[in-house]
């Protein structure tokens, strides 16, 4: 019966409490709630336990005092439970909001990254264009066209966030052609894409850093240069992307060159949780094989 009173007070709090609290201070609002809840509780208790709506109102007053006592305890119990549930919900909400924030922060960072083209690369390319203008105007023209392609698609990707394998390959060709203009015979490359993969969508900036690494840390430091081979294919239910170079390879004690790789790893974690992997292996007789494996649903 006391529980009935407690429950009723609580219900009253929930139903009209907030409205009352807008009109008067919190402690005053409690009074009508207790009165209404108490009365309802007595009526409810009477009808449920004794089958008589007015049972507790024609009994002697001791029952009422007792009922008030237990009613208050009942109220405290219910109130506590409701607060606990509210608090839990709040904590969960905050955690969710925090996670969302972190995701957004990462996304914004990536956009910034995409928008940047490495300044060294840009200056080098422009120096080469200047160098070719008199002696090789067609080469200068080509390089500027490739640079424009690269800049445009970098901007577009900053807006869209996704591109197809085909788009990505176009971009890589523009990049590699520019590098070939610089290095000429020292660099050769080939790109092999399985036809089923061509139209798959792919998050940008996964493949490009691997190719940049192959050039900057593999082929460029090699006096005789080398070759970059890019393979994109399905293997069972995975999309496999390999960037293979026969350059100088990774020096165990070399300066840290892993900023690009670090970014790729972070992106894989954000985009695919633990379902995607980046492997680095030594190529024989020298060079590096970088291999990306992504879960893929063939479309």
């Amino acid at each position: 019966m006391s529980l009935c009173i407690g429950l009723s007070i609580q219900t009253s709090f929930l139903m009209i409490g907030s409205r009352l609290e807008q009109m008067m201070p919190r402690y005053l609002a409690a009074i009508p709630n207790v009165v209404i809840g108490f009365t309802t509780g007595l009526l409810l208790g009477g009808i449920l336990i004794r089958g008589n709506l007015m049972f507790y109102f024609d009994d002697e007053s001791s029952t009422v005092v007792l009922a008030v006592f237990f009613g208050v305890i009942g109220y405290v119990i219910f109130r506590g439970r409701v607060r606990l549930i509210d608090l839990r919900a709040q904590v969960a909400e905050q955690a969710l909001a925090k996670k969302q924030q972190e995701k957004e922060f990462l996304a914004s960072q990536l956009k910034l990254l995409q928008a940047q083209i490495e300044p060294h690369f840009l200056f080098n390319t422009l120096s080469n264009v200047v160098g070719m203008i008199h002696t090789n105007p067609a080469g200068a023209e080509n390089t500027l066209i490739n640079l424009t392609k690269l800049l445009r698609s970098t901007l577009e990707r900053t807006r869209d966030g996704e591109s197809t394998i085909n788009d990505e390959v176009t971009l890589l060709r523009a990049y590699l052609d520019i590098q070939k203009t610089r290095m000429q015979d020292r660099l050769s490359y080939s790109i092999n894409v399985q036809s089923e993969c061509e139209l798959l969508t792919l998050a940008p900036l996964l493949l490009q850093p691997l190719v940049e690494n192959a050039i900057i840390h593999g082929i460029e430091p090699a006096e005789s240069g080398g070759e970059v081979v890019i393979n994109i294919l399905f293997e069972e239910d995975e999309l496999v992307m390999q960037v293979i170079d026969n350059g100088v390879g990774i020096v165990e004690h070399g300066p840290s060159t892993s900023i690009g790789l670090e970014n790729v790893r972070k992106r894989l974690e954000t985009l695919y949780d633990n379902a995607a992997h980046l492997y680095l292996k030594t190529n024989h007789p020298h060079g590096v094989i970088a291999e990306l494996r992504l879960p893929a649903d063939k479309k």
């Binding site: 060294h120 200056f123 080098n124 422009l126 120096s127 080469n128 200047v130 160098g131 070719m132 008199h134 002696t135 090789n136 080469g139 203009t181 610089r182 290095m183 000429q184 020292r186 460029e220 430091p221 090699a222 006096e223 240069g225 990774i250 020096v251 165990e252 004690h253 070399g254 300066p255 840290s256 060159t257 892993s258 790789l261 670090e262 633990n274 492997y279 680095l280 292996k281 030594t282 024989h284 590096v288």
Partner: protein
């Protein structure tokens, strides 16, 4: 007649410098081009030029390394794509330098200087220049070759959670994988960055960034819980001091 050789690994930049030099200094006799440090040294020996225009970033030996090996009576002009920060270093070291792409105005200044003092070489402090320009040489281990036979996987040390010796080998644990490697724990201790990798036991090195917490047991040793692996690592008494203040 004053003679010069030009050294750059990028053919377009080499031919452009050649073109501009001929325009601005027709009397200069350009007697050869080289595409890397080794070729440059061979060419210098063979032709003994008065002046060398030397690119800094090249495959193989850098231009700075080449400059150190040159006879003292050759005047060196560095040609570089480095930025303003490095330009300060060039000025301090009293070497002549040109920024790529070479502009005619700037080239003329260099030519005037070369004509004014054809033989005298300013006391260039190449060692200081090398120290200033080169990224700090990292002698710490960055990559570990794991596995054996045909294919070796490369593991970045930052991905390592801990190393543990197991009989003759060392096992390397990353978040998700385990690799057998040939380097011993004592070799690794010498080569790894000591700020990040802590030896906590004769046979265990842990990546300090991967330690979640350290709990002291009743014998005064510590038990380490890791952030991304479930193994619990025990310290031996001689390494416990690492965790006293944690």
């Amino acid at each position: 007649m004053t003679t010069a050789i030009l050294v750059d690994d990028e053919p377009n930049l080499l031919s452009y410098l050649d073109l501009k030099l001929r325009e601005c200094w027709p009397e200069l006799d350009i007697i050869g081009h080289a595409a890397n440090g080794l070729e440059a040294l061979v060419l210098v020996k063979k032709r003994q030029p008065d002046i060398i225009f030397l690119d800094i970033r090249m495959p193989g030996q850098s231009g700075l390394v080449v400059a150190e090996k040159l006879p003292k009576d050759i005047r060196v002009v560095f040609v570089t794509a480095y930025d303003q920060y490095a330009v300060d270093a060039f000025q301090k070291a009293a070497v002549d330098y040109l920024l790529k792409p070479v502009t005619v105005d700037r080239l003329k200044i260099t030519i005037e200087r070369l004509k004014a003092a054809p033989i005298e070489q300013p006391s260039a402090d190449l060692k200081a220049l090398m120290a200033a320009i080169k990224e700090p040489e990292a002698f710490v281990l960055k990559w570990i070759k794991a596995g054996s036979g045909e294919v070796t996987e490369l593991v970045n040390v930052d991905d390592v959670v801990f190393f543990k010796s197991e009989q003759k080998y060392t096992v390397l644990f990353t978040k998700t994988h385990e690799h057998l490697i040939r380097k011993s724990i004592s070799e690794l201790v010498d080569e790894l960055d000591p700020d990040t990798f802590w030896q906590i036991h004769r046979g265990v090195i842990v990546n300090a960034r991967e330690i979640l917490n350290a709990k002291k047991d009743f014998r005064g040793r510590y038990q380490l819980n890791l952030k991304s692996r479930s193994e619990v690592l025990r310290t031996s008494p001689s390494y416990s001091h690492l965790f006293r203040q944690m």
